[in-house]
Symmetry: C2
C-alpha cells in the first residue's frame, strides 16, 4: 500500500504532459489531495489510481450511501439463516435463494467498483478480493447443487452458508475487525508456550491421578468408575481449572483418604491460580504490544498520506515548501463539504498561528487529526422568553426561580424525590394511593424539565453534545407518553394490555437512571464506557463472525439429533431424548432416574438442561447420600 | 522517619565533644554508616537512636536469629488454633495457654528490644507498637477470664484468638505484607464508584424483575415462588454475575414468555461482561498506580539513608566530598561480613571506575543496590579426572564421549526417552515387562547424570545458581532411592506399603518434569514464575491473615450448628442436619427429597455438600421435569 501511494507521489513531482487546461488540472490536484487527506482522516489504507476518472470513482466508492448499501446487503445475507431450513421463520427456498443471489450481485458490483479504483496489480494480489470472489463462486455453486437436488427431492447440506461472514470481514470497510483479528492472531504464538506448559502440567497431574487412584475401584456419586481413563481424567482436571466441577471431582478421593486432598490443593494452586493468572497476564501484555504496533503502523500510514497531499499542493515560499491559505481552504472544503465557516476559520487559525497567509508542512500534516476533533459551535444567545417579554423574565420572582433552579439544592431535592420514587415503585402498586403517587412523581419530573427550560437557553440546553440533558428529557417524555397511552387504552377499552403495561413499568423504573445524571463520578464512568463502545463493538463483530460460523455448522451437524418437548411420554423415544446414542447417559438418566413428576405447564427443563450440558461433568447425580 | 534520620545526619556534621578515643569514634561511625547501608539494602525503614549502645542493640535486633525466633513464635501462636477446642488435635487448655503466654512474652520482649533501639517519641507514636501492646493485654485478659470461667465450668468464647494475626502484620519484619495491604486499601476508594454504579444497576434490574415477573405466580424448578422478594432477586442477580446460577435463574421467565430473555441478555451484557471487566481494569490500574507510589517512596527512603551514610564517612578531596577506598572496604565488610574478596574487589572496581583511590557520591549511593546483586564466583577448573589421570580423560574415546554429551542430539534423545517413559507409565503396570522397563529407564537416567558429571566439571555443574541441574539431579536420585526402598521393603517383608508405593509412583511421574529442563522456553516461564514467587507469597501472607480471622470467628459462631456423618438415621435430628432451622430448606431437602439410598461406605456427601452450599441457588432441584 505505501508503494502505490509513493508511485502516485512520484508521478506528481514529474508532471506528465497533459492536454487539460491548468484550472482543471488544479481541480484534479485538489481532488487527489483531498482523497489522501480523507483517507488519512478515516484511517483508510486503500491504494487507488490517480487518474481523474479513478479519483471520481474513488469518491463515489467512499460515499456514505454506498457504505450503507453494502452493510445493508451484508446484514440481509447474514440474517438469511433465520429464514432457511432449519429456521426460526421458515421461507421457501426460492425466496431465500433469490435474496441471496441479489446480495451476491451487490457484493460483486462493489468488487468491480473497487477493481476500477485500485491498480490492477494491487487488486489481484490482495487476498481479501480473492476471498470474496471465491466465496461468491462457491455460494453460487452450492445454491445450484442444492436447488437441483431439492428439485428431485434429495435433501443435501447448504454448506456455503458458513462462509457468509467472509463478506463481513473482507470488505475494506471492516478494517477495524480485521485489525483486531490480526492483533489476536499475532498474540497466539506468544501464549503458545504457556499453553503447552499448562497442558503438560495437566497431563502430569492426570498421570498421577491415574496411578494413585485408578486402581482403587472408587466410584463417583453417580456410581460411575472414578479416574480410570487418562483422557477422562485430563478432561475432568481441565474442567476443575474452571472450578465448574469443584468439589464434586475431588470427593471420592477425599472420602477414600483425606491425604489425597493435598494432590488437589497442589493442582488448584498451580493450574487454577497460577496458570490461569499467567495466561491473563501474557494475553494482556502481548495483545497490548501488538495493538501498539498496529497503531504505530496506522500513524505511519496516516503521515505518509498527508505527505502525499502536501507534495501535491505545496509551493515554495522563501526557503520552505508551504500550502497557501486559499488552497488550504479549498482543500478543507473538499474534504468536509459541510464544514461551518467558524469551524474552518478555527482550523485555519490553529494551522497558521502566525497568520502568515500559508500553512507550513508541520501544521499541514496535523490536518487529518484536526478534522477528527469534534467542534461544538455554541451561540450564546439570550433566552427566547427574555427577548419576548423581558419585563416578565427579568422580574424579581422570575430571577428567584432561575437562581433556585441553578442551585445545587435543586439537584439534591430531585435526587431525594427519585429515591422516594424508587421506594414507591418497590412497594405494591395494588394500593390506589401509590397509583396516584405515580402521577405526582411524573408531574414533579415534568415541572423540573419545564423549570430547566425556563432557566437555561433551550437551544444550548439541548445542544449537539448535551448528551445527558437529552438522556434526562427522553426518559421523562417516554415515561409520560407510555403512562398516558396505557391509561387511555385501559379506560377506553377496559382491556389491560400486558405488553404496554410492561413497557410502562420498565420506563417508570428507567426514570431512576436520572440519578446517574446528577452524580458527577457516575456520569464519568458511563461516559468512559460509551467512549470505549466502538472498540467493544468491533470485538462484538468478531464474536458475531465466530458464533455465526459455528452456529451454522452446529445447526447442520446436530439438527434433530436430540429432541425435547415431549412431557407426556407419548413416544418411546422420550426415554432417550430422541437419540438412541443417549441411552443410559447422564443426560437422559437425569430426566428418568426419578419417577416422572407431573408435567409442568410448559416444557420447563428443555433449555435449562441444554444450558447445563455445557459442563456435563458438573451434573449432579440423581441418587445422593443423606447427611 | 526521614526526620529521625536527618537528626542523626545533623549530629554528625557538628560533632559533639566526645571522650572516646578517635579510633573508637571511627569505629562507631563505621558501624552507624553500615547500619544505614544495611537498612537501605533490605528496605528497612526503622528509625533508630545513634548512640553506640543503641546501634549495637539495633545490630542485634536485625540479626537473623532474632528474626527466625520471632517468626517461630508467630507460627506457634497462629498454629495454636489447631490444638484448641474446637480443634483438630485437642490439647488441654493448660497446655495451649502456657504456649500462648510464652509467645506473648517473646512478643513483649521483642517490643522492649525495639523500644530500646528506636527513639522514645517515635516508638509511642507508632500505631504498630500500640497495636501489639493492646493485643498482648487483650489476649492476657481473655486468657484469664476464659481460664477462671472454665475453672467453674462455664463455657465462654476465646474471642482474642481472632486478634492473633495482629502479631504477623505489625512487627517491622512484615513490612512487605503491610505494603501490599496499604496498596489494596488505597485502591478501594477508586473502585468505590464503579462498585456503587454496579450495585445501582443490579438494584434497577431487580426492581424491573420484581415488577415484570413478581405477580406472575411463577415457580422455580424447586417449586419455590420465583422473583417475589426484591432482596432475593438482587441476590440471585448478583450470583448471575458470577454465572453460578446460569441458566437456572432464567428458566421460569423464559418458559413463561421467551421475550423475557431480552431482559436477561441485557443484564448479562451490562453486568457480567461490562461491569466485571471494568472492575478488573479499574482495580488493576489503581493497584498499579499505588504500587508505583509505594516503590517511589521506597526508592526515596533508600537514597536518603545512603546519603546519611555518605555524610558520616565523607572526606573532602579537591572540590568534592568522597569516601576513601580503605574506609569503603571496611564499610562493605561491616555490612556483609561474609563477602568474598573477589566479590568485594568487583564492587570496588564498579564503584571506583577510574581507580582514583576513592568512591564519589554518585557511586557510593549505588552501593545498597550493588550489594543486592547476586554474584556467582565461578572457578574455571579442570575436571578432577583430568588432573588425576589426564592420559585417560584426554584419550580419543573419552573426547568422543564428551563431544557426544555436549551435542544437542544428546538432549533430544533423552527427551524422546522421557516421552517413551511417559507412555510406559500411562500403560498398565501389572505387566511384568513394564516393571522391567522401569528399571531400564531409571538406569538410563543415571547413566545420563554420570555422563554429564564426566563431561562437565562437577563443582561448576552443581554450582550455586545451577538450579536446573540440581532439579534434574534431585528428581533422579529421589526416584532411585524410592524405587530401591520400595523393592527392598517388598522383597524383605512381603508387605506392600501403600504410602511408599504412592511416593514411588509420584516420583516416577515427576521425572517427566525433566522435559521442562530441556526446553528453553519452558525453563524461562518457570524461572519467571519462581521470580515472582516472593510477591505471590506476600499475598499468601495477606490471605492467611484474612482467612485466619474469618476461620476463628466462623468456628466460634457456627461450631456444631450443622451436623453431618449420620448415615444411619439413628437420631431424629438427621432429617434437619442437626439444626431445626434447616427444616424444609433446600440444604436439608436435597438429602431427603429422594428415598435414602444405602449408606455409602463413608459419609460421601458431607464435605461435597458443604462446598456446594457456597452457591445455594446453584443447587439443582430434586424433582426435574422429563425431557
Amino acid at each position: 500500500m505505501p508503494g502505490a501511494g509513493r508511485a502516485a507521489g512520484v508521478r506528481r513531482l514529474r508532471p506528465q504532459p497533459s492536454e487539460e487546461p491548468p484550472a482543471l488540472e488544479e481541480d484534479q490536484d485538489l481532488l487527489l489531495a483531498a482523497a489522501y487527506v480523507s483517507d488519512a482522516q478515516y484511517n483508510r489504507n486503500v491504494p487507488f489510481e490517480t487518474s481523474p476518472r479513478a479519483i471520481r470513482l474513488y469518491y463515489f466508492y467512499n460515499h456514505w450511501t454506498m457504505q450503507v448499501a453494502i452493510y445493508f446487503f451484508i446484514c440481509v445475507d447474514l440474517s438469511l439463516a433465520l429464514f432457511e431450513e432449519p429456521a426460526l421463520f421458515p421461507l421457501p427456498f426460492l425466496a431465500t435463494s433469490i435474496a441471496e443471489v441479489l446480495c451476491l450481485i451487490a457484493f460483486f458490483g462493489r468488487l468491480v467498483h473497487f477493481a476500477k479504483v485500485t491498480p490492477q496489480m494491487v487488486f489481484w494480489k490482495d487476498t481479501k478480493n480473492i476471498c470474496i470472489m471465491v466465496t461468491i463462486a462457491l455460494t453460487l455453486i452450492d445454491l445450484i447443487i442444492y436447488g437441483s437436488l431439492e428439485a428431485v427431492n434429495i435433501h443435501s447440506v447448504r454448506w456455503s452458508r458458513a462462509l457468509r461472514p467472509v463478506f463481513l470481514i473482507n470488505f475494506p470497510e471492516s478494517r477495524q475487525i480485521r485489525r483486531t483479528f490480526r492483533s489476536i492472531r499475532n498474540t497466539l504464538p506468544d501464549i503458545l508456550y504457556v499453553f503447552l506448559l499448562f497442558m503438560f502440567s495437566v497431563l502430569i497431574f492426570s498421570l498421577m491421578a491415574l496411578k494413585l487412584l485408578g486402581d482403587r475401584g472408587l466410584r463417583t456419586v453417580e456410581g460411575l468408575p472414578y479416574f480410570t481413563n487418562i483422557l477422562e481424567i485430563a478432561f475432568e482436571l481441565y474442567v476443575l481449572v474452571t472450578t465448574a466441577n469443584s468439589p464434586d471431582v475431588m470427593m471420592p478421593a477425599y472420602n477414600f483418604n483425606w491425604w489425597y486432598s493435598l494432590y488437589f490443593i497442589t493442582y488448584i494452586i498451580i493450574n487454577t491460580y497460577i496458570f490461569m493468572s499467567v495466561f491473563l497476564a501474557v494475553v494482556y501484555n502481548n495483545y497490548r504490544k501488538h495493538l501498539k504496533n498496529e497503531i504505530r503502523k496506522l500513524a505511519y500510514l496516516k503521515r505518509h498520506k498527508m505527505m502525499e497531499a502536501f507534495n501535491i499542493l505545496k509551493v515554495k515560499v522563501g526557503s520552505e515548501f508551504v500550502v497557501m491559505e486559499a488552497r488550504w481552504r479549498r482543500l478543507a472544503r473538499t474534504v468536509m463539504p459541510h464544514i461551518s465557516s467558524p469551524h474552518l476559520e478555527l482550523l485555519l487559525r490553529i494551522s497558521d498561528e502566525g497568520q502568515k497567509g500559508y500553512v507550513d508542512k508541520m501544521n499541514f500534516l496535523r490536518l487529518a487529526d484536526l478534522l477528527n476533533i469534534q467542534v461544538v459551535t455554541m451561540n450564546i444567545k439570550r433566552h427566547p422568553l427574555e427577548e419576548w417579554m423581558p419585563w416578565v423574565y427579568q422580574s424579581s420572582a422570575s430571577l428567584l426561580i432561575q437562581r433556585m433552579v441553578r442551585h445545587r439544592i435543586f439537584v439534591w431535592v430531585y435526587d431525594i424525590i427519585i429515591l422516594i420514587n424508587a421506594i414507591f415503585i418497590a412497594l405494591d402498586e395494588k394500593n390506589p394511593f401509590i397509583s396516584y403517587a405515580e402521577w405526582l412523581f411524573l408531574s414533579l419530573y415534568i415541572i423540573e424539565i419545564l423549570l430547566k427550560l425556563y432557566t437555561y437557553e433551550p437551544r444550548a440546553y439541548f445542544g449537539k453534545k448535551q448528551f445527558w440533558n437529552w438522556f434526562d428529557m427522553l426518559i421523562i417524555v417516554a415515561a409520560l407518553v407510555a403512562t398516558v397511552a396505557n391509561t387511555t387504552i385501559q379506560s377506553a377499552s377496559k382491556y389491560n394490555s400486558q405488553q404496554v403495561l410492561d413497557i410502562v413499568l420498565i420506563l417508570r423504573i428507567l426514570r431512576l437512571l436520572r440519578v446517574i445524571v446528577s452524580i458527577q463520578r457516575f456520569r464519568l464512568i458511563v461516559t468512559t464506557l460509551i467512549n470505549i463502545g466502538p472498540t467493544i463493538l468491533t470485538f462484538g463483530g468478531l464474536i458475531l463472525v465466530v458464533y455465526y460460523v459455528f452456529a451454522i455448522i452446529g445447526m447442520e451437524a446436530f439438527h434433530g439429533k436430540v429432541r425435547f418437548f415431549d412431557p407426556n411420554f407419548t413416544t418411546p423415544d422420550a426415554l432417550v431424548c430422541g437419540n438412541p446414542a443417549l441411552k443410559d447417559s447422564a443426560f437422559a438418566r437425569d430426566r428418568h432416574g426419578t419417577p416422572p413428576p407431573p408435567p409442568p405447564p410448559q416444557a420447563a427443563c428443555s433449555l435449562g438442561w441444554v444450558g447445563r450440558e455445557r459442563h456435563p461433568e458438573g451434573l449432579p447425580g440423581a441418587p445422593r447420600a443423606p447427611c
